[in-house]
């Protein structure tokens, strides 16, 4: 008994094989796809016909020009068809870690059971990929008429972040794309959409490149003429190549196709949602629909702000934690509340006219409304949340393997440090790099090498006391503006550069002595600097005094001494105990 959604989705997304007009629309899609080739063929025929007409007339230079022109157009058209063929890597899908049934028997068994319940062939490959995505792909041949190998792509963020029941809903949805035989031709639609989008995109890109080249050439010509003292060339309206006009033709065709196939494509989604609802219950499916975008946002935030925190310093979180650390973010109470709030947020309502014809999915709000209109099957939202990771055997090994499969060699060569040390190690590295020129200047002046830290700061302040500020500052690299200045202004620029380097050194020393700490904070912002209020307040003034003329270094020394640093800063005691 096919489930029929009521409400706004009732007229369009009738599911099941019995829906009238379904095959008709699928056939339309097939026709449109053929039309893509027909359009190209028609263009070629038209060009050829023109050539024949030209050949009939008297043979002149114009005839030859015409033939050459038509050859160019034909070449472009053929290239467009060739462009339509997507590269093989696109068919391969995103890179990830393929799981064998031996490695993950529970997950495979689960997917197989789900496929059975959906009533479709299980995938031949399960691949874990980065991000919060889930999709199924079939390498169908011959315009999607001959079935091929099925692959399931599962985002690691979903495995880590979705409760088991909601993961079932997601898997059910994806498998549901194959559940109905009448969606078989849906591949044609997908193929058509993919091909047209790719063709139009490629044509536009080429046209834009051509135009940019022409503009660059014009600019070069103008510059040449100006150099020769002649007036600039007359600017003509940019002549556009055949790619531009072909793009216009194919864009128009693409728009037509997308409008015509929109319903087919969207109905597939509704139908897949119904399958998911049958597997996991409508409430759970709706919850999953809401949770996935929230997880996507959280995953992006996690990668940018946490996993890549130490990138510039050449540091990454421990092995298996590059993707796996997302779980740590998800267990944080503040983040959990943020995620829940994000998932509760009212979904954007798209008025009918503004709907993008290019979107393959209906608005999530409509999908959820359709799910909510289903009869309650008695299954309520399970409050006991069994995480999806329970399906995995040795998740740590899996996460480590995923890193090996997806990270670049550059990323893999980074140094791995524990989470707790990542912020301050990264910070220390950046500070060290920023103070490098200053230390080099010191070494140049004193003849002794200097390493960043309290000792170097002590030596530096001694140099300032000896009135060597200008000598030191003059050795620092100069900005473009500073390089253009002279006299006292140049000295002031150097002093500004010196002050910011000194500030870095002082902060580094404060970090070393434990006066300041950089801590990882899952609740955000990712790095929290903890320093006594008096330190933060007094530091700018102390720095100003240190770079003034004459230099007064006592305030800066006192400030850092107060934090417990001894020795070099007061010029007496032994070297301090360094934490680093």
């Amino acid at each position: 008994m096919p489930l029929r959604p009521a409400g706004p989705a009732a007229s369009g997304p009738a599911a099941g094989r019995g829906a009238p007009g379904a095959s008709l629309r699928a056939a339309l899609a097939l026709g449109l796809l053929l039309g893509f080739y027909l359009l190209a063929l028609a263009l070629l025929v038209a060009v050829a016909a023109l050539d024949v007409v030209l050949a009939r007339g008297t043979f002149t230079v114009v005839t030859v020009e015409g033939w050459l022109g038509s050859l160019a157009v034909a070449w472009c058209v053929l290239r467009v068809v060739a462009l339509g063929r997507r590269r093989e890597e696109g068919r391969e899908g995103p890179p990830g870690l393929s799981l064998t049934p031996r490695e993950q028997p529970e997950l495979w068994e689960h997917v197989r059971r789900l496929a059975e319940r959906v009533g479709t062939r299980p995938p031949a490959e399960i691949r874990i990929v980065p991000g919060a995505v889930a999709m199924v792909r079939e390498d169908a041949r011959w315009l999607g008429l001959v079935p091929g190998e099925r692959r399931l792509f599962l985002g690691v963020a979903l495995l880590l972040g979705l409760p088991g029941a909601e993961l079932d809903a997601v898997l059910g949805h994806e498998l549901g794309h194959y559940a109905h035989h009448d969606t078989r031709l849906g591949h044609v639609v997908a193929a058509l959409r993919g091909r047209l989008a790719h063709t139009v995109g490629a044509l536009r890109e080429r046209a834009a490149r051509e135009e940019a080249e022409e503009r660059a050439e014009f600019a070069a010509k103008t510059a040449r003429r100006r150099a020769e003292g002649r007036p600039p060339p007359l600017r003509r309206g940019g002549t556009r190549g055949p790619d531009h006009y072909l793009a216009l033709v194919f864009t128009a065709y693409a728009k037509l196709c997308l409008r015509l196939t929109e319903a087919v494509s969207r109905r597939q989604e509704y139908a897949a949602d119904l399958v998911a609802a049958r597997i996991a219950g409508p409430a759970t499916t709706a919850a999953a629909l809401r949770r996935v975008p929230a997880l996507e946002a959280a995953d992006e935030l996690y990668l940018n702000q946490y996993a890549l925190m130490g990138w510039d310093a050449g540091l990454l979180p421990p092995e298996g934690q590059f993707y796996g650390g997302f779980a740590l973010l998800l267990v944080d109470d503040t983040r959990r509340e943020q995620l829940a709030a994000l998932a509760r947020e009212p979904l954007p309502e798209e008025p009918g006219e503004d709907r993008s014809p290019y979107a393959s999915h209906p608005p999530t709000a409509d999908r959820i409304r359709a799910l909510e209109s289903l009869p309650d099957d008695g299954r309520t939202l399970t409050l006991v949340r069994r995480p999806a990771t329970a399906l995995l055997r040795a998740p740590d090994r899996l996460l480590a393997g995923l890193e090996q499969a997806t990270l670049s060699t550059e990323a893999l060569s980074k140094h791995r440090v524990p989470w707790a040390e990542l912020p301050w190690q990264a910070r220390r590295d950046i500070a060290a790099r920023e103070t490098e020129p200053l230390l080099a200047a010191m070494a140049e002046l004193t003849g002794a090498p200097a390493a960043p830290g309290v000792i170097a700061l002590g030596h530096l302040l001694d140099l300032l006391d000896r009135g060597l500020l200008d000598e030191l500052a003059a050795r620092l690299p100069r900005s473009e503006r500073a390089a253009r200045s002279s006299g006292r202004a140049a000295r002031e620029f150097a002093r500004t550069a010196f002050r910011s380097a000194l500030r870095q050194l002082a902060l580094g020393a404060a970090l070393e002595t434990g006066l300041c700490r950089w801590e990882l904070c899952w609740a955000g912002p990712p790095v929290r600097r903890t320093a006594p209020a008096w330190f933060t307040e007094d530091l700018p003034a102390a720095l100003d005094r240190a770079v003034a003329e004459p230099a007064v270094t006592a305030p800066l020394r006192t400030l850092l001494l107060r934090g417990g640093a001894h020795g070099p800063l007061d010029g007496t005691g032994p070297a301090p105990h360094t934490l680093a």
Binding site: L234, S479, S485, G487, R488, A489, E492, T496, R499
Partner: protein
């Protein structure tokens, strides 16, 4: 097949019928545009003018004494600089003008100021030069670009130097209680640090208590009241009008109205700023003031440069010709220095003035009723 050829032929003809006239029109318009853009040139020497290549970009007018003093100071002779400043006496505006000459030298190199201050630690003039040089140096570090074209490094240096300059100015003011100059120097600090209107008015009261019609102070304060700094067009015009109206006879202050007008025009390059009804009377008042200012007055070049620009904008070519002839071969003054290429701006205005004057048949300037 013949039908096809006919259709194609008609198509080509129709295309030609549409495009050929259009292209002709386009070409004509372009030619006219280029002709309009083509630079007008005149033979400067034929009018007794200094040619563009020999214009002096650094000075507003001739002042050989100032040049000699600055050169001597940079060579280490601070005594001559001290004497130069002292000779201004209680003409506070002349003192401010001469201070500017010395400060320009001190921004380049301040070793002579240091020597002066070492020898006479209590000399208020030395303290004043030191303080105002810090203010000028801050401006030098910041550069004259708008905030969005100024780097954070420039701003950092600017603010640090202004923070250093303020106590220096206050110290100089304490050493010379009658002198308005240490207070006037603070106007630029007020600009840079964005003082509130009330704080600025308190500063202004200190200045006017010492010299109510100080020209340099008014020019500086006009900047504060500009829209680009802390004021608005209305506040700026009101300030200029009040100062010009209250100015004693023989004061160059009426030119402040033109200065304000020019600031307004810079802000609204496309607006009909020069067509406002008060512009011509303001120019006339300034011309009257110029007639009363003794020749060789240190403010006369600036007044004439602004007058020349305004007369040119108002197409009063005969009078503009007089001013351009009077300023001679000097370009280093407002309004030209506001342009990226002051010489170009000056030559453009001057050339078009003389061309316009020539076209009108070289009329004599209308007589001024005094």
């Amino acid at each position: 097949m013949n039908v096809l050829i006919d259709i194609a032929g008609v198509g080509v003809l129709a295309y030609a019928a549409v495009t050929i006239p259009r292209n002709i029109r386009k070409a004509r318009a372009q030619k006219a545009e280029e002709k309009a853009k083509a630079p007008v040139t005149i033979d400067a020497a034929a009018y007794g003018l200094v040619p563009a290549a020999r214009l002096d970009k650094r000075h507003a007018g001739p002042d050989p004494e100032a040049d000699a003093v600055a050169a001597a100071a940079l060579a280490g002779d601070w005594r001559r600089a001290a004497g130069y400043l002292a000779n201004a006496g209680r003409d506070w505006d002349l003192r401010w003008y001469r201070l500017g000459i010395l400060v320009n030298a001190a921004v380049e190199d301040d070793s002579w100021v240091k020597a002066w201050r070492t020898e006479y630690p209590g000399d208020p003039s030395a303290a004043l030069v030191h303080a105002d040089a810090l203010v000028s140096l801050a401006g030098e570090v910041r550069g004259a670009q708008l905030a969005k074209h100024t780097t954070s490094e420039q701003f950092e240096g600017f603010h640090r130097l202004l923070a250093e300059a303020l106590p220096a100015c206050r110290e100089a003011a304490r050493m010379a209680p009658e002198d308005p100059c240490p207070w006037i120097a603070q106007i630029t600090i007020a600009l840079g640090l964005g003082w509130a209107h009330d704080d600025f008015r308190a500063l202004w009261a200190e200045i006017t208590a010492r010299d109510p019609h100080h020209f340099g102070a008014h020019v500086s304060a006009l900047q504060y009241w500009c829209a680009k700094w802390r004021g608005s067009h209305e506040l700026m015009y009101a300030f200029a009008e009040q100062a010009a109206a209250a100015a004693p006879p023989g004061s160059p202050l009426p030119v402040l109205r033109l200065y304000a007008l020019f600031e307004h025009a810079c802000r609204e390059a496309k607006g009909p700023v020069y067509d406002q009804p008060f512009v011509d009377p303001a120019i006339d008042a300034t011309l009257d003031a110029v007639a009363r200012i003794p020749a060789g007055h240190h403010r006369l070049p600036l007044v004439r440069h602004l007058l020349a620009k305004m007369l040119f904008e108002r197409k009063r070519y005969a009078e503009a010709v007089e001013q351009f002839r009077a300023v001679g071969g000097y370009v280093g003054s407002v309004p030209w220095t506001y342009s990226g290429d002051p010489v170009k701006a000056f030559v453009h205005a001057r050339t078009n003035t003389f061309v316009g004057w020539e076209k009108a048949g070289r009329p004599a300037p209308p007589p001024r009723a005094h």
